[in-house]
Every structure is written in C-alpha cells, then in structure tokens.
Symmetry: C2
Subunit: 339 residues, 2 copies
C-alpha cells in the first residue's frame, strides 16, 4: 500500500497559504508575490511533492499518455516502439504499450478489444497502432475513433477508417529491388510475396512487378500469407520457373528461407541465384553471404508517428495524412551479375 504522497494541501499548510496559491505557483500561472512563491517552492521541495497526473488528467481530460498497440517481440516492431518512446518522452508524454495476440506459456491470448479498453479506461490521449492481419479495423473505429480519440496507423494502413498513416515507402522498396536486379542484367525474376491482402505486401509486390514489366523482364510470384515458410515457397518458385536467376523476398525472414532453399537445390548465392530481402533485420548483415536488402528505418517511422500524434493531441483536425519514411537500399553480397 503506497502511502499517500504529499498533496497541495500539505504544501499549503506548511507554507501558510491557500491551496489555489500553491497550484498557481507550481504551475507558473497567475501572479504570486515572489516571497510567497519562494516559501511555496521550498515547502514543495522539502515535502518532495510530485504532481498527481491522475487528478490532473481527470480535470483536464488529458493524461499526456498515448496508447501504443505494437508488439515488441520482434526487432522491427521493437525498434518502432523505441522511436515512439523517444519522441513522446521528449515532449513529456508517455507511451502505454500493450499488444494483443497469443502469449507464451503460462499466459493466455489477449484480444485487441481488451487491450484497447485497458487504454481507454486509463484515458489515453490517443492511440498509435500497428494493424494486425485480420479485420480488427472496426474495433478501432467503434471504440476509439467514434470516441474522438486520435488514431494513427503505423506500418500497415487501417483500411476501414480515415486516419493518419505513417510507414515506409514500400512501393519504392519494391522498385529499388527490381531496378537493382535489372541493372545486374537479370531478366528472369522471382518474387516470394508476403500476405498480399496487407498494404505492405501488396505494394512491394505491385511495384516490383511493375518495374520488371516496364523493363520487359519475366517475373514469377509465390505468395506466403503466413510468412511461415520461405524455404517452401522459394523451392516451389524455382521448381516452377527454373530459369529464375534473381529473387526478391518480401522480408528478410523469407529471404533466410530462400537461402535454405537454394542450398537444398544446389544453387549458390549469389553465383547462381541473387536474393534481395526487405527490412534489414539485425540478422540480415550476419547471414552468409550478407543479405542485400531494403532498409525500413522502423525507429524513424515510430518517431514520426509519435510526433504526428502530438500534433493531433495539440488539436490539429486537418484531413488524415499519409507519411512515408524513405527506404534505403543496402547492397551486400547476396546479389551479383547474372550468370
């Protein structure tokens, strides 16, 4: 039972003034005689006063806390959360990070709605979320947006609602991958796609194919909506189109699977098969050979999203924005000239 912290009343008593005077001094508002102010600040310090943001939040309706529905169990999202954290803290806000989905034993699965309620019950000033695969969009619409809570989607767009979006330029990434292959002389391309019903997967796919088509190069596609087995997908792709010499994978994990597939089929990387990933996870540079990939800059995405949220919290009511953090291309050793 944490003992109650000192209150304004305690300070007032010690300084021999009214509570409202203390409030004025501590908030730097209104006009107070310097001598009185000094007595009050001294008493506050002596009592080690800390403001009660619960009360302040109740009064003003603003808690300086932002709900963040992003898991931290993979490096990409963790990095994004870091960016959000740093940007919020810089403005004296806090992230309240919660996420849904299955938990490891001994814990149980938690629903998105449940977590959303936990945030709302604590009266967060807004919600930054990374949409999950299924159609949980309605939940956000119903629970948050209708309640006039600012919502910002990161990484993937929220399809059923008009809200700000911050992500990376997935299309540009797909284009860069294609152009890299084309510049190396490849004419028979393959793409191991992620889930094509997500905005990220769809755009990487479309842009890669568009750039290939524009150059008159052939391109075969395999889709792996679960992201679970890049090896399997890459094998099928190479079996269906043996002439493929270059493969663009929708993320680095799929690329790792493709490495295994190549090894299984006796194709050397990059001599026989060039591979490009997406994301630049920490493991990408450590793979053998180091993976050529598109860098996403999750930290910047998070930071930008948080700053956008702060603008919304400050009262901005303008139309939803679509903010793209540029991707960069990291050429490493998994790509080479066409054999």
């Amino acid at each position: 039972m944490p003992r109650p912290l000192p209150s304004l009343a305690d300070i007032a008593r010690h300084a021999g003034v009214a509570i409202s005077t203390v409030s004025r001094v501590l908030r730097g508002q209104g006009t107070v005689a310097p001598a009185t102010a000094r007595r009050i600040t001294a008493a506050a310090r002596r009592l080690r006063y800390r403001p009660n943001l619960l009360v302040q939040g109740m009064q003003t309706g603003r808690t300086r806390t932002i709900g963040v529905m992003v898991p931290v169990d993979d490096p990409f999202h963790a990095d994004m959360v870091c960016g959000i954290h740093d940007a919020l803290v810089a403005e004296d806000f806090c992230p309240l990070v919660l996420w849904s989905g299955p938990a490891r034993p001994p814990h149980r699965t938690v629903t998105e709605l449940e977590q959303l309620h936990r945030m709302i019950d604590r009266r967060v000033d807004g919600i930054i979320l990374r949409p999950v695969i299924d159609d949980a969009d309605d939940v956000y619409f119903h629970e948050a947006i209708e309640r006039d809570l600012p919502v910002i989607a990161v990484d993937r767009v929220l399809t059923n609602a008009q809200v700000d979006f911050v992500g990376c330029d997935d299309a540009d990434g797909g284009r860069l991958a294609a152009e890299h292959f084309l510049a190396l002389g490849h004419r028979h391309l393959g793409h191991v796609a992620g889930a094509l019903f997500t905005s990220t997967g769809r755009q990487r796919h479309d842009a890669f194919l568009a750039a290939a088509a524009a150059a008159g190069a052939a391109c075969q596609v395999a889709e792996d909506p679960t992201f679970s087995d890049g090896e399997q997908q890459a094998c099928q792709l190479l079996a269906a189109a043996p002439r493929i010499t270059a493969m663009f994978c929708a993320n680095d994990l799929l690329a790792a699977g493709a490495y295994r597939a190549a090894a299984r089929l006796g194709r050397r990387i990059p001599a026989d098969l060039s591979i490009i990933g997406f994301g630049d996870l920490p493991l990408a540079a450590l793979m053998a050979p180091p993976l050529t990939t598109v860098q996403q800059h999750a930290y910047q995405i998070g930071s930008l999203a948080a700053r956008r949220m702060l603008v919304r919290c400050a009262g901005d009511r303008s139309a939803p924005q679509r903010l793209l953090v540029p991707v960069t291309f990291a050429p490493r050793a998994s790509t080479a000239r066409v054999p």
Copy 2:
C-alpha cells in the same frame, strides 16, 4: 480533444436511479433489486460506458499500472518486457514501459530520475527495473522505496537497496560453461568478461574460474567493461596466452567479436578454438558456426518478476526474495574436443 466519455451520472439519469446505485451495480457490490440492476447494465451498455481508472486510482490509490524501467532496444530486454507484459495483462494490470539513456537522433538523452518521476506522477503501483551500470541505486531508494512503492530488480541486483530480485542463475551458467570445456578435455581456458562490477558479470566470472580452478585448469581473463569490443579483448587474450584452446565470453555479442578475432588470427572454430557465449540471442544460432551458449530465458524472468510484483501489490510485506530462473545449456557447433 477527446469528448468526455459517459459517466456514472449519465447512466444514472438514463436508468432513473442515483449515482451510488449505478456504482454498486457496476462493481457488483451491495444489494440491488434485479430489475434495477438490469436497467442499469442496459443503460451502461447502450451508452458504451467505460470506467475511469484515473478517478478510481485517485480514490483508491491503486492504478493497476506497473512502471517498467527496461529498454526494448535489444532482444534480451525486449523478451523480458514481453514476459512482464503478458503476466501483468493476465491479471488486468498494465506495464508503463519507460527507460533512460541516450536516444537516437533527433532525440535527446533522458535521465533515470526523469523517467522515474513520470511513473510516480502517474501513480504506478510498483516499479520493475533493470539496474544500469552506474550507481543510480540511490535514486530508486530515495524516490520509490522511501515512498513505499514496491520495487523489483531484474537481471542485475540493486546493490544499495533491499528489494526483490529476479534474474537468471548466472553462476550456474559460468559453471556449465567451464564443465563443458573440461569435459571436452580443455585445460587452458580463457574468459572474456563483461563488466565485473555488475552482479551478472561478476558471477559468471567467479563461477567459471572456480570450476576451472577446482579441476586444476589454467584460466586467463580479459575484462571489457563496455562490452564494446570483443574482438579486441579476445585478440589480447590469445596474444597473452597463446595456449588457450577454449574461450568463454560473458555474452553472445562478445562471442561474435571473438569469432572475428579468431578469423583474424587464423584460428579455426571449433577445430583450434572452442567458444561459448552467454544469452542465446537470436543471432547465436545463426552464426557460423552456430554458437554454443548459455540460454537465459528472459521471458520467464520477466514473467516471474511481474508475478512477484503482483504479490507485493496485494500487500505482501515479507523479506526481499531472490528468485533465480534456471539457465540451460545449448551445445552447438562452436565447441569441440581439445585439438
């Protein structure tokens, strides 16, 4: 400006009863006529009422929120935070995750005290923290413990304060590493230590040396308090004691540095030099050769710490406990019989 959510007063008005009756029904306390209760729950649902935990927190002094001072920027700590999150959420609590230290551009460094205040100002019910290198212990003592806030240290012990500790069995890890080497016939061991002024580094070091000494094996140590350059440390170690055939690194990153050192010196792993890491980061299994290492189970540590915190929050005032999650040994391909 989020519009104010419906309040008990709104429900009371809609149901034609007094506020206190609504309160009773929603909290399942007291006795209310079934018919009245039904009218009230119906009105609450219709208005989409959500309780205001700020007010509840102000009243009761409990916010069902736990401050978590653990960074999310490396996989080990992120995993720990996952465990904390899942265990807290399972009991309808929330983690408030904040951490100190330098932030990437464009953000600035944040102090531990600042973050601690952010938590206290929001009236968290307790604080789980991963002590940093410097002696910030006093801060916690002064700001939290003296305020009667339960504090739990994870991973590293908080030296200057008597609080619960949850970590892994670092000593056992050091011992396991030594025994593995000894079983493979190694007699000339090396240890690239982390910071020996941390409980983790110290215990891994002490236990490894003790086990080596007990078996009469020689052991040379290099310390790298900054964890910044395993390659450099390993090189020096091998230069100073060329007969070393087995090296225990205080963490996996140092082990990665040792790999580079071995390559530089023309020592093959594991043929000429066996290496053991600590932590089992995701990269460990991906290294070439896959790294033999001690697994720490950060998720379990986090989960256990959170559950301990919930017990403290429930009023447990017993003496500080020291809880150790067992480590496990993961033999992979970086260790072999002595040449």
